[in-house]
Amino acid sequence: MDKVELRFTGSGGQGVIMATIILAEAAYEDKLQAVQCQSYGPEARGGMCKAECIIYDKPIMYTKVILPNLLLALTQEALDKYVTSLQKNATILVDSEINVPEPIKEKYNVISIPILESASEVIKNPMSANIISVGAVNEILHIASKESLEEAVLNHVPKGTGELNLKALNLGAQLVRNYKK
């Protein structure tokens, strides 16, 4: 396989770190190599947040993402900051509220889906935006098996919210399929 380098960005509290952990764990469960790391400022909530994950079928040496082949941006600020360094032909997954400039749309494979709105309106829990994102990313890149991904989600969400979060996971995949149509 080609090395998968993911960069998830947003604001603190949106759960982008957890999203990368879930993907890395699911891939590891599927016997792939995975590393995950993050950078964050001092704010627990609201500051810009970046998390990264590399998935590969060989040992991973350098642990940081240099040029991602997928960028997830949940805020405009995050997109504007991180859109400048991407691999050729990279995919950009953004919330549909975010304005993506035309030249970017031409240069990259942009997928714009209503992540935040679906979390609030369909799942009725804004905190599920990160799980919707995980479902969407896996639908785009086919990194982990459905079983491993579901298990990883259940390992990390609060007790009693499992079913809701599995629904969010499927919704993410569904949104990508609808977008591609």
């Binding site: 952990i21 890395a24 764990e25 590891y28 190599q33 995975a34 590393v35 995950q36 790391c37 993050q38 950078s39 964050y40 400022g41 001092p42 991973i60 040496m61 350098y62 642990t63 940081k64 240099i66």
Partner: protein, 376 residues
């Protein structure tokens, strides 16, 4: 935990390694980026009958851990740069009183509060020279999550076997990195315990065939004295110059004479390398990334020499390599600390260059390859 393979943070793997090694006591104070070590210890220790306590400050953290060690438990404390500075006095105490303890320092960018969530390796020299007075030092540095597990076990083994403080010099790169880790169960690991015995008043006497005094925990009926003053074999203070000289020599020799057993390092593709990169800890991941990149293109042959035991420094091994390769590049996330040690060892055998970074980011493979083309 159902299987033995887990995706863990380096900090978490350190705690699991400590528990596998027999850690039964942790005392510390929260500090980024080491806090996960305290948090996981708080969860895990009572599950295995151990004790966790969050103390009022960094100094109290190491002090309580030393108290617990004297009472017979394997003990650890963890911190980061500024907190490591605060712990230094009691590292000296542990050295002279010969109390086993593991001190984890997850280095961050400094000085002072610096960049608490960013990587650096600014404490390399502090880990050797931070405490006052001459003292024996063992410092071990991991470069993967698996090593955070395995080498924490080794830290405990060294601390208990030699009755010394052992410093586990992590950095933010490995501390916060999540990757796969095999939690090898204790029965498959080599676990060393302190040599227990009846000391009958001769608390610090070394018996024939041993190189450290035998140990008896407080409460077991030996009723001895422990002090940070120079002391004779009975454990009581003395101003006698001969006794002082002999005690100091024994403290240093117990490590110095066993350097060959203590030192560990990794040589990767060094045999026919033109340039050997010397690095340790999380920096090795940048270097290995550079080697991987170089192998994909027409580039010089690069090797890596990675001290795992960063103190004592594996000098003979590096000296040998320095006579074979054409250039040595030292890569660190600081302004050149291990560099000084490398220069001391390599002398004129080959040119030595340096690449460092202290801006809150890590050296990239590209940074390293570019530097090589500049200097070679």
């Amino acid at each position: 935990m159902a299987t033995r393979f887990h995706l863990l943070q380096g900090n978490e793997a350190c705690v699991e390694g400590a528990i596998a090694a027999g850690m039964k006591f942790y005392a510390g104070y929260p500090i980024t980026p080491s806090t996960e070590i305290a948090e996981r210890s708080a969860v895990r220790l009572p599950q295995v009958g151990g004790k966790f306590i969050q103390m009022e400050d960094e100094i109290a953290g190491i002090a309580a851990a030393l108290g617990a060690s004297v009472a017979g438990l394997k003990a650890m404390t963890a911190t980061s740069g500024p907190g490591f500075s605060l712990k230094q006095e009691n590292i000296g105490y542990a050295s002279i009183a010969e109390i086993p303890i593991v001190i984890v320092d997850v280095q961050r960018a400094g000085p002072s509060t610096g960049l608490p969530t960013s990587p650096s390796q600014g404490d390399y020299m502090q880990s050797k020279w931070g405490t006052h007075g001459d003292h024996p030092v063992i410092v071990i540095s991991p470069s993967s999550v698996q090593e955070c597990y395995n080498l924490t076990v080794r830290c405990f083994n060294m601390a208990e076997r030699f009755r010394v403080p052992v410093i586990f010099l992590m950095d933010e790169i490995v501390g916060h990195l999540r990757e796969g880790c095999e939690l090898i169960p204790p029965e498959e690991l080599e676990i060393n315990n302190r040599i227990e015995g009846n000391i009958t008043g001769m608390t610090y006497a070394v018996s024939e065939g041993n190189y450290v005094p035998e140990f008896a925990a407080f409460g077991e009926g030996e009723r001895y004295n422990v002090t940070g003053l120079f002391h004779d074999d009975t454990g009581f203070p003395t101003n006698d110059n001969t006794i002082t000289r002999n005690q100091e020599r024994r403290l240093m020799d117990k490590i110095r004479m066993r350097r060959d057993r203590i030192m560990q390092w990794e040589e990767k593709d060094c045999e026919d390398a033109d340039v050997i990169i010397v690095c340790y800890g999380g920096t090795a991941r940048s270097v290995m990334g550079a080697m991987e990149e170089a192998s994909k293109m027409d580039f010089l042959k690069i090797g890596m020499f990675r001290p795992i035991t960063v103190w004592p420094f594996p000098e003979k091994a590096l000296e040998k390599l320095s006579k074979k390769c054409k250039h040595i590049l030292v890569a660190e996330h600081n302004n050149g600390q291990m560099l000084l040690e490398v220069q001391r060892v390599v002398k004129d055998n080959c040119p030595v260059s340096f690449i460092g970074k202290i801006d809150g980011t890590t050296l990239t493979p590209d940074d390293i390859l570019t530097k090589i083309t500049e200097v070679y």
